[in-house]
Amino acid sequence: MIKVMIVDDSADLRMLLASALTSAGHRSIEVGGGLEALARVEAERPDLILLDISMPDLDGFAVLARIRSMSNERVARTPVWMMTADGDPASIRSACKLAALEYFVKGNYDIDDLLERVGQVDANR
């Protein structure tokens, strides 16, 4: 069981991912925006962050860059998976530079596959 922080401005998508993670026995924390994610990440210390890129307050890249530069090393190294609406190569490159581990294009992945990979994060912990 791991603790996953879901950062997305769409409540529907948060609920979807939370339900999926719960069904596989994981814990989830739903966060509706980039600023809130930054405010809560140190206290919550999630094992994995699912991070939307396009958010109105602060986009996923900015959130990830700030997490990576946090003084608490454990938090700074949190595994992050980007969740995005398009598989734009430039966007994938930016995600790589910030050491995001996965890059999911919305509507283009299988929920079982996602859960299996979450299971691997759990096993490697």
């Binding site: 769409s10 529907d12 998508l13 609920m15 979807l16 991912l17 339900s19 999926a20 069904s23 596989a24 396009s54 109105p56 986009d59 609406a85 398009d86 734009d88 294009v105 919305k106 509507g107 283009n108 299988d110 929920i111 079982d112």
Partner: protein, 608 residues
């Protein structure tokens, strides 16, 4: 002509033999008269790294001679300092760098260029490659006769007399892309502008598709994800019900988004079908505020202008007009920072209804203002995703306004000062507002933006809404007048009926001259209003027959020709045929009322 005279330079060149026609001891190649040739002769070369002309190696003389004799822009860079020699065709591209750059090391002559072509020069000088660079932006000097342009340099090394690379020969591709004075350059400039424009529109479309795909994928993700969760039995009970609700909501949202997108694209392409009815703008504004308020509340933006007590009716497509107002208000909210305000005002101005949407937002830079109503345009710099816009909204607004014979414009004092979008639409039965007295106390004539106090935005001192009594003298009394309207087009009959009905006129309609004549034989009318161009009998035929009717009342009914044929000859012809007045389509409501009042009154009114 003998054979020797026809021998060309190339045919005289035989492999293994020396070139013919080379003068044995060239100073420089014989030079065509040109400004740069004169400067070459006049410059004190001994004070430059190249030393006096007489000591130049042959290869440099040849290269400089080829360069100066060409009418295409070319230059030579020579020696370790890359001393810059260029021909007349380069002058317009150099702007104020000319003439100081001539004979100077490139780093002094054109510092920025030396940096941007450095790698290319290395390839030529160190590895002897011939290169063609990627286009380099040509940054114009102040007051240069050159607009922003791009230069491509083809470079090849020139061997010096010892067999090494002595310098670089550069051909400039500065054709249509660079512009300077002169006709050819003007054409080039236009082409350049057109190309830049096309590239920009293409980027905007990419951006649009990016935003669209984002908007479509988010619900798609929910639909697919929940289907998988539910279908594979991962969730149960309550959660299934929740998931199904999300699927339904997402699919509905997606369908609506597709509809709206198609709508926008269709409207932006100029294909608008109007479903015409009588429309009340205050009601529309209220409906729009209901839609936009949650977004405004979320940002702490004050919306003002609800429940406008004035009467602002027009004939139009209520759905489109609401979409139009909604776009303007949504846009205003979107580009206004939290805590700002957005106001919608209405006013009667010069016979039109004016709707103004003013915000305290970021404003619009002057250079962007001419483009705000174009499709796929948005403020550049990647803010469109941030603001979630499509770039089609304002194009839609313009199309809808114009389809209603209206206009739209934008006022902004520049970035940071807010913007006001103003739509003018022909009103229905709105009373003829006399120009200049419409909205006392308003700094910007005719723009009513109640409730917003913002620098740069006119803040009207509207103590009360405009009403008929405020803006005009007594109205002509039309109530109860019996008027016969003849037009073969049902929409035109309906429109006229509505406009006249607004003022209490009792309208009878006829679809053709024969029907009108029948009605005129049986009933008395205070006025006849007829279209001219109709199939079978036209308006001229009709009025001839009317004027020869048996009954006095029929024969003498005042008649107005209402027609798209609006030239002076058309008017003269209508009057000669027996009409008392001639009005052009589309109908000017104020003029129509005035004409009806005048003619019906003059004849002695038949009231019902």
């Amino acid at each position: 002509m003998d054979a020797a005279a026809q021998t060309s330079y190339l045919s005289a060149c035989t492999p293994g033999h020396a070139l013919p026609f080379v003068s044995p001891a060239p100073t420089v190649l014989p030079l065509r008269e040109s400004e740069m040739a004169a400067r070459l002769r006049g410059l004190e070369w001994s004070s430059t790294p190249l030393g006096p002309l007489s000591g130049w190696p042959t290869s440099l003389r040849v290269a400089v001679g080829l360069c100066l004799n060409s009418r295409s822009p070319m230059s030579v860079l020579w020696g370790a300092d890359l001393v810059f020699v260029y021909n007349d065709a380069c002058i317009p591209l150099l702007g104020q760098r000319h003439p100081a750059a001539f004979g100077r090391p490139l780093r002094d002559a054109w510092a920025g260029l030396a940096d941007s072509v450095g790698l290319q020069l290395d390839a030529v000088l160190l590895r002897g490659e011939a290169t063609r660079a990627h286009p380099v932006p040509l940054v114009p000097e102040p007051q240069a006769n050159v607009e922003a342009a791009r230069l491509t340099w083809s470079m090849s090394g020139v061997p010096d007399d010892t067999g090494g690379i002595g310098g670089v020969f550069c051909a400039w591709e500065a054709n249509a892309e660079a512009s300077a004075n002169g006709l050819g350059d003007a054409v080039g400039s236009l082409e350049h502008v057109a190309r830049v424009e096309a590239e920009r529109l293409s980027r905007m479309k990419d951006e649009f598709l990016g935003v669209l795909s984002h908007q479509l994928r988010t619900p798609l993700n929910a639909i697919l994800g929940w289907s998988q969760l539910i279908g594979r039995g991962r969730v149960s009970g309550d959660v299934v019900a929740k998931g199904l609700a999300v699927i339904e909501r997402s699919a509905t949202a997606q369908a609506q988004l597709i509809d709206e997108t198609l709508d926008l694209v269709r409207v932006a392409a100029g294909k608008v079908q109007l479903d015409v009815e009588e429309v009340s703008l205050p009601a529309i504004i209220n409906a729009v505020f209901d839609i936009v308020r949650p977004a405004a509340d979320a940002k702490g933006i004050v919306l003002s202008g609800k429940d406008h007590p004035g009467r602002f009716q027009l004939v139009g497509d209520a759905h489109r007009i609401q979409q139009m107002v909604c776009h303007l208000v949504t846009n205003a909210v979107r580009f206004t920072t939290p805590g700002g305000s957005v106001g919608v005002g209405l006013a009667h101005v010069e016979g039109m209804i004016e709707l103004a949407v003013a915000d305290t937002g970021r404003g619009i830079a002057p250079e962007f203002r001419p483009h705000v109503f174009e499709a796929f345009r948005q403020k550049e710099g990647g803010t469109s995703r941030e603001h979630g816009g499509f770039g089609l909204g304002l194009a839609f607004v313009k199309q809808v306004a114009e389809a209603h014979h209206g206009t739209v414009s934008v006022q902004s004092a520049g970035p940071g000062t807010g913007s006001t979008f103003t739509v003018r639409l022909p009103g229905l039965g709105q009373e003829i507002a006399t120009p200049g007295i419409a909205t006392p106390g308003i700094a910007t004539p005719g723009i009513a933006t109640p409730g917003i106090a913002t620098p740069g935005i006119a803040t009207p001192g509207l103590g009360k809404p405009l009403s008929t009594a405020d803006v005009q003298g007594p109205l002509p009394k039309l109530t109860g007048l019996q008027v016969l309207v003849v037009d073969d087009e049902p929409e035109a009959r309906d429109l006229l009926s509505r406009i006249l009905g607004e003022r209490g006129v009792v309208v009878t309609v006829a679809a053709c001259a024969a029907e009108a004549l029948g009605l005129l034989r049986r009933h008395r009318f205070a006025l006849l209003i007829s279209d001219i161009r109709m199939p079978e009998q036209d308006g001229f035929d009709l009025i001839r027959e009317v004027r020869s009717l048996a009954s006095l009342a029929g024969r003498t009914v005042p008649a107005v020709a209402l027609t798209a044929l609006a030239g002076p000859e058309d008017k003269a012809r209508a009057l000669a045929a027996g009409y008392q007045a001639h009005l052009a389509k589309p109908v000017d409501v104020a003029a129509l009322y005035a004409t009806v009042a005048q003619l019906a009154g003059a004849k002695g009114v038949f009231r019902s």
